[in-house]
Symmetry: C2
Subunit: 226 residues, 2 copies
C-alpha cells in the first residue's frame, strides 16, 4: 500500500513504526465513482481515511434538497468522531472519482486511541479545522448574498483543490453548476447566471463541470463586498 505519513492529517506526530501498525490494523477499500461509502443515517461503524481519489460529503434536507458539506481528498478523515459514539451519522459519503480508503472499526480505533493518546489529540486539531470551516460557512450563509457566497465557495474550493495551469487555477474536482449550488445553498440557475457574468469579466473560465479561476483577487474583493 502506498501510504506515507507525510500526506495524512491525523498521524502527524507518530513515528513511522507506529504509523505502520495503524495502517495494518485498517482495511483497504477501493470504490468506483458515484458509489456510496456510507449513507445518511447509517450507524457509524467504521471511520475512514481517504488514500486516493475524492469523497463528497452531503446531507439531505427533509424536503429532499441536497447540501454539500465538504469534499475530502487524500489524507483526510471521514466519520472519525461519529464512530466513537454509538449513533447514526446524518451524512452521506459519495465517491467523486475512483477512490481508495482505509477503514477502521470502532473497537480498533478506540484501542488505538488509548494506546497512542496523540491520535485523539491530533484528531481534536482536525476537528477544530472542520468546525472552523463550518462556522465560517454558517456565518456566510447567514449574512451574505448569494453571489458573494458563490465567490467564497469557488475560492475555498480553489484553496483546497486548486492546480496551477497556464490559463489560471483549475479546481480539480468535477463540479457541475448543480454541485456548486448545493455547496452554497442556492439554485443551478443562479449559479449559471453568476458564472456567466464573471466569465464575461474574465474572472473565471468555465466549461462542462470545469472551473478555472483566472482572477482570484477580483473574486476576493467581490466576496468582501467591495
Amino acid at each position: 500500500m502506498l501510504i506515507s505519513v507525510e500526506k495524512t492529517e491525523i498521524f502527524e506526530s507518530l513515528s513511522s513504526p507506529q504509523f505502520a501498525t495503524l495502517i495494518k490494523k485498517g482495511q483497504q477499500i477501493i470504490l468506483q465513482p458515484k458509489s456510496i461509502l456510507f449513507h445518511q443515517d447509517d450507524l457509524a461503524e467504521r471511520c475512514f481515511m481517504v488514500n486516493r481519489g475524492r469523497l463528497k460529503l452531503t446531507m439531505l434536507s427533509e424536503q429532499g434538497k441536497e447540501v454539500i458539506l465538504r469534499y475530502l481528498s487524500s489524507g483526510e478523515l471521514a466519520a472519525a468522531i461519529a464512530v466513537l459514539r454509538n449513533q447514526t451519522y446524518p451524512v452521506t459519503a459519495e465517491c467523486v472519482d475512483e477512490t481508495e480508503v482505509i477503514g477502521w472499526d470502532k473497537p480498533t480505533i478506540v484501542a488505538l486511541m488509548h494506546q497512542y493518546p496523540a491520535i485523539a489529540i491530533n484528531l481534536l486539531g482536525i476537528v477544530f479545522d472542520r468546525i472552523d470551516d463550518l462556522q465560517h460557512r454558517y456565518l456566510e450563509m447567514c449574512s451574505e448574498h448569494v453571489n458573494q457566497r458563490i465567490a467564497r465557495s469557488l475560492l475555498r474550493l480553489m484553496r483546497r483543490a486548486g492546480i496551477k495551469t497556464p490559463e489560471g487555477i483549475h479546481i480539480d474536482i468535477p463540479l457541475s453548476r448543480q454541485n456548486i449550488a448545493d455547496y452554497c445553498g442556492t439554485t443551478l440557475s443562479t449559479v449559471s447566471r453568476t458564472l456567466s457574468i464573471w466569465e464575461k469579466k474574465d474572472w473565471i473560465k468555465s466549461g462542462r463541470e470545469k472551473i478555472i479561476i483566472k482572477d482570484p483577487h477580483a473574486l476576493v474583493l467581490f466576496a468582501e463586498g467591495v
Copy 2:
C-alpha cells in the same frame, strides 16, 4: 466551589478525585452580564467551562452583522479545541447573566489530556455534538424558509433551555427579537411578524425578551413543512 461531576459534559468517565484535581488546576472567574469572556480573533490562550450562568457565542461578519452560534449553559465548554492550536478563534463569548467559569491555560489542559486520555476522548464526543448541531443548522440555512428556521430555532432553544410552567415551556434565556434574528440569520422585523402570527394562533406567548412555547407540536409540524 460548587461543582459536581454529574453536571459537566467533559469529565464523565473520570473518578471524583481525578475530577477534583482538574478543578483545582483551573482558575475560577466571575463575570457580570454583558461582559466579554473572550473576543473574536483573540489568541485562544485558555479554555473554559461554564459553572453558572450563560454565555452567548457569536461571530461577526465582515459587514458587521452579528450571528449567534450557540448559547452555553452550566457544564459546557468554550474554546476547548481552539486552545490546543496556537491560533486565534473567530468567536466572541459574551455573558448573558452573571456568569461563573473555570479557566485552564493551554499547558495545563494539554498536560491533563496526556495524563488522562479519557478527557481528550470525551472532548471528541462533545465536539461531535457541536458539529452535528452546526451541520443541521447549516442544512436548514441552505434549504429552508425563514419562518421554518425560526420555528426550528425556538424548538432547539426550548430543548436546551426550556423550563416547564403552567402556561407552557419557557425558554430561560433573555431573547430579544434581534437575538432570535441573529440566531437564525434573518431580521428583527421578520421575526416580529412571524411571532405575531404564531401568538395569534396560540402556538406561543411572547413578551419583552421572553418566549413561552405553548404548542411545540404545532411548531414541529410547521418546521417540517406540513
